[in-house]
Symmetry: C2
Subunit: 758 residues, 2 copies
Amino acid sequence: MSQMGRSIPRLEARSKVTGRAEYVHNMRVPGMLTAKIFRSTVAHGRILSIDAEEARGMEGVYAVVTGEDVRKIIPNPYFGPAFHDQPILALDKVRYVGEAVAAVLASDPHIAEAAVQTISAEYEELEPVFDEVEATLPNSPIVHDELKPAGTFADLKHLAGRKNTNIALDYQLRRGDVDKAFAAAVHVFEHEFRTQHVLHVPLESHASLAIPGEGTLTLHTSSQTPSFVRMEIARLLGWPENRVHVKVPFLGGGYGAKVYVKVEPLAVALALIVRRPVKVALTMEEQFYTITKHPVTFRIKSGVDKDGRITARKCDVYWNGGAYADIGPRVAQKTGFTAPGPYDIDNVSIDSYEVYTNRPPAGALRGFGVPQLVWAYESHTDLIARELGLDPVEYRRKNILRDGRPHATGTIMKDAGIDAVLDRIAERMNWSVAIDRGTGRIKRGRGIGIGFKASISPTTSGAIVNVSADGSVVIFTNTIDMGQGSDTAMAQLAAEVLNIDAEKVKVVHGDTDAAPYDMGTLGSRSTFHMGNAVKLAAEDARDKLVALAAEVGLPAGTNYDVQELFRKRYGMRAGNIVGVGSYVPSYTPPDPKTGQSANVTPFWMVGGAGAEVEVDTETGHVRVTKLVNVADGGKIINPKIARTQISGGAIMQLGFTLTERMEFDGGQVTNASFADYKIPGFRDVPPMESELIAANQENGPFGAKGIGESATFGVSPAIANAIHDAVGVRLTSLPIKAEAVLRALRAAQGNPLAEDEE
Amino acid sequence: MSQMGRSIPRLEARSKVTGRAEYVHNMRVPGMLTAKIFRSTVAHGRILSIDAEEARGMEGVYAVVTGEDVRKIIPNPYFGPAFHDQPILALDKVRYVGEAVAAVLASDPHIAEAAVQTISAEYEELEPVFDEVEATLPNSPIVHDELKPAGTFADLKHLAGRKNTNIALDYQLRRGDVDKAFAAAVHVFEHEFRTQHVLHVPLESHASLAIPGEGTLTLHTSSQTPSFVRMEIARLLGWPENRVHVKVPFLGGGYGAKVYVKVEPLAVALALIVRRPVKVALTMEEQFYTITKHPVTFRIKSGVDKDGRITARKCDVYWNGGAYADIGPRVAQKTGFTAPGPYDIDNVSIDSYEVYTNRPPAGALRGFGVPQLVWAYESHTDLIARELGLDPVEYRRKNILRDGRPHATGTIMKDAGIDAVLDRIAERMNWSVAIDRGTGRIKRGRGIGIGFKASISPTTSGAIVNVSADGSVVIFTNTIDMGQGSDTAMAQLAAEVLNIDAEKVKVVHGDTDAAPYDMGTLGSRSTFHMGNAVKLAAEDARDKLVALAAEVGLPAGTNYDVQELFRKRYGMRAGNIVGVGSYVPSYTPPDPKTGQSANVTPFWMVGGAGAEVEVDTETGHVRVTKLVNVADGGKIINPKIARTQISGGAIMQLGFTLTERMEFDGGQVTNASFADYKIPGFRDVPPMESELIAANQENGPFGAKGIGESATFGVSPAIANAIHDAVGVRLTSLPIKAEAVLRALRAAQGNPLAEDEE
């Protein structure tokens, strides 16, 4: 094992720091037009008219395109991975403030932008609904008349044709007998937790450049899922997939904002309408109107026996999916089954609702809904321990789900280091030693939180490993390097198999012609799934090299000179070897009624955090003085990159915990700017320890598995639990801003803060 | 067989006629500079100084680069496929008029061109040598001090270090006992034939765009050999091959002008020096200074027995390779062994010399030297038949090399339809019926010529066939479509295997990352070699599909629905299948002394022509009134494209026969313009019949083989033989312009034309 565990610098580091790395935003091609988008100002309404007269007449404006224009070339212009519900440009109705209604095309983006400002639209306003629980009530306004599942996922097909409901998906899991268990429980605890509307904030916003050919199309796009984009564009156009070529250069972050399909259909439709290359590149502000993270209302109820063992858990989760489903139904379903948390509970009931509202669409964001669930169940866990007078670590140890035991789905746990992660957090937090609780206005406390996540299933990844006659190697993969270091990880895996240095491997990512299908760079699946595919492809190449060596009479073994090998075979420097790998983990689809499955995931991700905080009891200000992040990443391919991932995930979740919240006035986002919406800066990063436990994922490539999301799980509840530990108040909504803490403190003192007082 | 034999339109036809097809000349990228070249005005000289002061000072000029500048970043800047003899920019010496000496870089090509005009150089002139025979004489000026074989081809290595010779390669073949056979012969005939200096004239001249990365390089180039370009650039830079990415879009013709490496090293060197993208795009005129076809002097001598059987043949061939070897040594060697022609001769001696001179470099041009040889041996054959009073067709039938008989190399002939081609020409020429011989000043005659060619060996080709989940297919190949229809042919071959319509296949050509190694699109090898590779790749994909079908429980057979198959496997539309094919024909290297080999080529190409001419005896003007072209192409993949190839080859050779000649004043080309250098236009095309005999190439893909060069073989001698038949004079040099015919007529009448009289 010479390449596994090497902390080599990222392969693309030099090209990034010198500015040579390619991004869609920087691409220019001859004849290219840039599109700017006119967006809805109402949250729910019928489009009566769009006035683009002035824009059309402006010098330098090439065209103004509306939904009706799109419909002329794409008769059914609705897209989406789970539901075909989102129009390329609004048709008939608008369903959220910021929805794309028209596009202006010009060579000069500034002219296009100026022209957008002259467009106006008239709407017949309809009553909107914003809250995920309210939207499920009988008399709620209805966002979509009818459910239109995409057919992509066989298990969503039964929803087709459902009318007059905002519940896009109602997932349920039943295990054991919850009612009976609650009746028998010594203690029953019930709480409700909520999370806020936040967004991904990749520093590169969405950009697509569509270049039309003759019955063909090349699409450069900032996507985490080129294979899906190709399928979806081909479907929209009614073309075979091989007529659509999707290429993805580097991404400036993704975090789930760029999964499935976002601005690609618009870029494609515009390019086909004007028969010229068209770029759609969103501003940072437009991210607020494109894709967000689900706000969640989670009602969690537990029955506990006299020994403190959890015997029953009921979870009701409402996911605010916004106006278009995106991958939301899959979040409610695939993440929904982890709602009871990493605990060994015999009787479980889960109801998880993906709900349409008139908010911006919500989709996948680092953790695919898991951080919202962990926030709730780990706050709940702490409240139970506190109520029972038990140490929160000990209480968790008593209930934790260990390898060999069945998960709520019935799947037997394997290679899930839940206990190991818990132990390591306790160790790093020095949990057995009491902390200084503070004096005066500053109080100190500590807390922990751990969570877990299943990997997405069913799914598949393919890779090609091409060995040249000089022994140099190119990997083809549709796993996209968006800063997480996947190119480097794949190079290390292939190099390990081929017994060469990883630095000698070139990785070509994001090319739907050249690289095989991959489901997407999402759900922390790439190290495991694509890693296995790359390993298989490299093994295929190695086997072919060994066969070639035998053919030319070289001694058995793998220690031959590749150049010599090819020269012997071809009489000159010529030829190459192509290895192909395709990985499909085994999977058992869950029973649709009970959610039971013998094999619901190929691996589990586990992560947790421990936090120490200081709370200023006069201002409510919370300062995190220590943040410990621990994850189980199986065998680690590149420790330095892995640790950076863990740190990054924790910092991201720290923003969602303490500062980030999209503010709304009705349907209008009032802080759609990164001056007003506060993501963590360098000075907001607390003293942190990020580490990975030594583990092995048996079916992973050389024992590895994904870690991209694991560090987001525990941060929010660890901090809330620490605050409770410090000052005795419980925050049940995110974010935990000073005002909220102060309100809770004052309420606890019987001296509540007035609504407009801060 | 549903796809073989279908005359579908070329896949890229629409994109070409609408102007959407991509060519390097049209490419622009941000920051790109264009290079223009300052060229030598002397044929042989030492560079004393280069004055580029004024150019460097011109507004808009970014840089002026000389050979010394190149040497700073590429210490050994000599390139070439057979010899490393050609400097990227002239170093120390210049060796022909038009050699690249310096390059000017500017954003605006017009500024670069204007700046080139201000550059001057001082040379110490050296005595030049231009004639291929003179250059082999003892006291000739020496073009290169020492031979530097590249090491690419193992069988050229022995030439390393040879000094003071212009003979770059002396190939010899010995079979039987020629001296003894000549001594025993009843008749001995000896003639000398010559061909002129001509060039390829692709309507797209050479263009390369080099884009530097961080220790990497992307090179878009108009090349027939992307895999070789990658190897050669990597070698020059000392980089692993995977750091060099060569991409080739469509070519506007190649004909051998774009094989191996031409302007690519210059584009690369300039891009690395200025660290910006650099395009080198030659003008049509610059083609005259880049690559040409070998002028040849061929002394051929035959011994014939009393029955008219040829018993001995001695061939001395001098190839004028110009100042740099390019692939010339390989022409002298690999084509040299076919010099005795398609005749069954027991005693053969061949000496074939690749000779350096101070002319522009000569390389491969449609036929790789074979048309020059056929011109000579079929003129010679006709002279023998005429001398013996035998019908030229009957005389050939008596001596022809039939399947099952050994060729001069000892290889037993197989699937070479030499007799069938001869018979078909005779049939189409209505040979058994006498023609109207003409009256008055117009005389009529007819003639034929047939030739053959071995395929290049050793060599290999690889291909990838990628099947998407919707059943659509992408082929990856480094065979370049340059108008010959290779994309369409490959699509038909893959479609035949996969049982789909060829129109549903997309072909990606020219990408050294994505497509496997291929030796090059040259020597009519692609249909056979790449065709076999594509067939193998498609079969690999088909086998994997069949295995997948069995895995998901579909009934055996290949008539399943591919979409259904993937859906069953993955529970959704996902996945794909990658098939890989690599083809290496068997080959026995010839004995270096005797040229004998049991297996010198995987297949033979056979082509011939019959011509009827009218000669105006007062002006010498020759009008071709009928031209019959017949070739053996094995099983034909696409008859319409194949016939167009045959016609095109014949028309090209017609130009070389009647009108084309580079005129020289010393070393200076005096007609480097297509106003003065006359290629055939539409009005020059005679009434033609082009056809392919029904045949089968047993080891070819579905029985197919190459036809790109076959129609060039017979045209020149058929016309010369027809002229002889018409007016009784023999032309022994090409081209056969009216003046030459008139001179020959007047000489035959004992009334020679004065040198300056026309």
